[in-house]
């Protein structure tokens, strides 16, 4: 069973790499932010799989914290950066 869990974790990590592509491509700030949020969900799933694979129930707490706090970054984005997002937010 450990094999399935580890394989699943590896697969999820690969999907995370695919998601990074979206962060880099954009095109809008909202796309990038949503991709980062998707990583949060992937990480939660990954942590739950690793909790089973390593038989470390403490990792479920880590997943819980992630699931609970991921919203803070996206609320910041919506409240503070959203209006500017239509403009050229990426000007360096």
């Amino acid at each position: 069973m450990t094999l399935v869990y580890l394989g699943g974790a590896l697969f999820l990590l690969l999907t995370l790499v695919a998601g990074l592509w979206r962060v880099l491509r954009g095109p809008t700030a909202a796309d990038r932010m949503l991709a980062a949020q998707l990583f949060g969900t992937t990480a939660v799933a990954c942590l739950l799989l690793l909790a089973e694979a390593d038989r470390a129930p403490a990792l479920r707490d880590v997943a819980l914290v992630f699931a609970l706090l991921a919203v803070v970054a996206v609320v910041t984005f919506v409240r503070r950066n959203w209006r500017a997002a239509g403009e050229d937010l990426d000007a360096d």
Binding site: D61, V62, V65, L68, L69, V72, V75, T76, R79
Partner: protein, 224 residues
């Protein structure tokens, strides 16, 4: 407004130096013994007198209590630094929509519950004051983002009391155990667990409030 970076020759020499540094340090790392228990045996040997069952908590609050005490002081200093630099940014956000207004009502109680759980969990497993404080701080940030403002009567001494509660309790306990054990922070075993939980509870609260105050980006209620 394009940032001018360093000149190419400078970039190159910096890169060269850093590659050298990396190689030297990597050589040292690879030369370290591949198996070493570090301080783990010493910690394991002392666990019985620590008052808690989780090694990391024992190290943080008991064996290396000074570190944690001074770390709390550093947090306080960072907050003082932020306060002395600027007043809090005045709230300009428009009122949140229905979704954002409902969000903290659902989530903040859960976050506070999670913080309490992590604090309690710290005695026997992964968790503790820092994690609990961080979750509490995130709950505060969420409240601030969704339109909640610190009430004026909480901006004075009450806020300051919360900020120093962690360090204050730590110092008080450190001094209070001196008659019993002869040294600062030398908890007598029968009450060690209780004292650690007491310190952790207030430290977690202080860390949470400090992180929230840091997010405010200045002294609340101050005007320039």
């Amino acid at each position: 407004m394009t940032p001018r970076g360093a000149a190419p020759w400078l970039r190159f020499s910096v890169a060269l130096l850093l590659v050298g540094m990396f190689a030297a340090l990597a050589w040292v790392l690879l030369g370290l013994p591949p198996r070493s228990a570090g301080l783990q045996p010493q910690v394991a040997a002392q666990m019985a007198v620590s008052g808690v069952d989780h090694p990391v908590t024992a190290v943080l609050l008991n064996f290396r209590g000074y570190d944690t005490l001074l770390e709390m002081a550093v947090l306080l200093l960072a907050c003082l630094g932020v306060w002395s630099l600027s007043p809090a940014v005045p709230p300009t956000d428009e009122t949140p929509g229905a979704m954002l207004a409902a969000l903290p009502r659902q989530l903040v109680p859960l976050m506070v519950l999670m913080a309490g759980y992590l604090l309690w969990r710290g005695a026997t497993g992964p968790g503790g004051a820092f994690q609990a404080g961080a979750v509490l701080g995130a709950a505060g940030v969420l409240l601030l983002l969704t339109g909640w403002r610190l009430p004026v009567r909480w901006q004075g001494w009450r806020l300051r009391l919360l900020l120093i509660a962690g360090v204050g309790m730590f110092v008080l306990v450190a001094l209070a155990v001196v008659p019993a054990s002869g040294v600062l922070l030398g908890y007598p075993l029968p009450v060690a667990g209780t004292l650690i939980l007491l310190i952790e509870a207030l430290a977690g609260l202080s860390i949470g409030v400090t992180l929230m105050a840091l997010f405010l980006g200045g002294e609340p209620g101050a005007s320039r």
